[in-house]
Assembly symmetry: D2
Homo-oligomer: 161 residues x 4
């Protein structure tokens, strides 16, 4: 049995302080469960903060990088996967994660949430824009799972296991 | 100089009749300009209708298939590109198109619009959901280009060339 | 029914004059059959020469580019597919081609021949290195099809259709 | 600083007993160095044996799967990366590994060695077919590094670090 891999997706450059704080906390909580954290691996925004939080709690972090090498990688990534695929790597983020948490809203994050809808995986939203929630509500997929805090997201994941 | 490649993206299974009619008309108008039509290549919804419209006007059609072979391909695709990438092929749709027209709204279509934001390409929306428009409005990218009809979309493309 | 897509694979920078001459001739012959030529799309070696030959005979040429845009593209490519996948795009070359002709021997070409073995497609070798032939001979796949000239390769393809 | 990731590539179905024994030993030795083992992740041949050897010595194993899910995964993989890319994932194996060891010879393995030539990475061959060595000798890249045993391969890697 492999350990659960929890993907935390969120904005890079455009992340808000709230999203960064949430991501750090998510990383910590995921590590405390002894689960594996997966992010897009870059040294920016939600990816950086979640990886940092996980490492500060002794967790294991995987980064699915868009680039062919480790340039721009977060120093808190233990296992950098150099895909060389650019944004096509977003689909690997989704396929590899057992659960996806969208932490904030951005263009890349939204593309990942959309790809995740097509899987049967648990997708959680933390601090999403209202417009994203409304859009998800109208698409022919199960309703999005809104969470109120990192701890609430973790509790929901534990309930499904 | 290669001919312009116009990508028409839209729902497969869940396409509305309006989106299908628009897609057919877009295919026709693109072919009449002697431009190349690009779609996701499947025999469903907007992909099928746009390809059909283009072929009925003697156009050339490219289909970027998610599969390793031609199973499920639209019969109106001249050049099937078998990527074997699943949904990761969405990024090729965007990178290869000179202009992207989102015809309707769906999960895959939204993922493509989000990927397109990161390019500097012209992205046009035809009959989008209001929630998609609102979401795009709040993202830190140029405002989405709303079009009122297939003909209006074509006119806008011609103005930018 | 789509037209047959014939993939001509071969060295870029390191192509010999013989391989370049063969590629040009292959492109011409493929175009004369009204088949579609597929290459890796770059303005180098076998890719450039085959595309040039096909265009000089009025053919249609597809280029599966490793890059995200058209930089470095052969001017003789009609339909550039910008994959942004780097060398991972080699697999698309194989999956999309109905028949593969390896024109000369190089690292990339060899990787493509190896991927082609796993398909059930006709793979032809034109002017391969003896060491490549010996290696192919020992692998648990159908024997490689050696051809003596571009015309001979075309004749073999026609016989299988 | 991330730990070194050592990619062990080799045949699946067609692996010889010698290749399987070597792969198991390589996995063990890599784990004993506290390095990370990377394979193609499947429950077959060299991939399975190397992962098993690493786990028996308490190592960490990454598997870059061709599939969209964990079907056919080796039970000795700690971190399955579900790429959904088919054989296009071979390029991720190479880009992600800091050092590549080809353990035996097969079609997929050869494709990976060829892709690795284009990187500046250390590529080691263990029990290669003579025809593969001859082919590599003639290509315009640094000469292949032949190793005589798993221990010898490990010693060579340590010398380069």
């Amino acid at each position: 049995m492999t350990k659960p891999i929890i993907g935390v997706m969120g904005p890079g450059d455009g992340a808000s302080q709230k999203d960064i704080d949430n991501a750090y906390e998510l990383g910590k909580l995921i590590a405390e469960q002894n689960w594996i954290l997966l992010t897009g691996g870059r040294n920016l925004g939600v990816m950086e903060a979640a990886s940092k939080g996980a490492k500060h709690s002794g967790g294991l972090t995987v980064g699915i990088l868009p680039s062919e090498n480790k340039d721009g990688m977060s120093e808190f990534v233990d296992i950098p996967i150099c895909t060389g695929l650019g944004s096509a790597r977003n689909n690997i983020n989704i396929l590899t994660s057992d659960v996806i948490i969208a932490c904030g809203t951005g263009a890349g994050t939204t593309s990942e949430v959309m790809l995740a809808l097509k899987s049967d995986k648990l997708v959680l939203l933390l601090n999403p824009s209202e417009n994203l929630v409304n859009l998800l509500d109208e698409l022919p997929y199960p309703k999005p799972n809104l969470t109120s805090s990192p701890q609430n997201a973790l509790d929901l994941i534990r309930q499904t296991m």
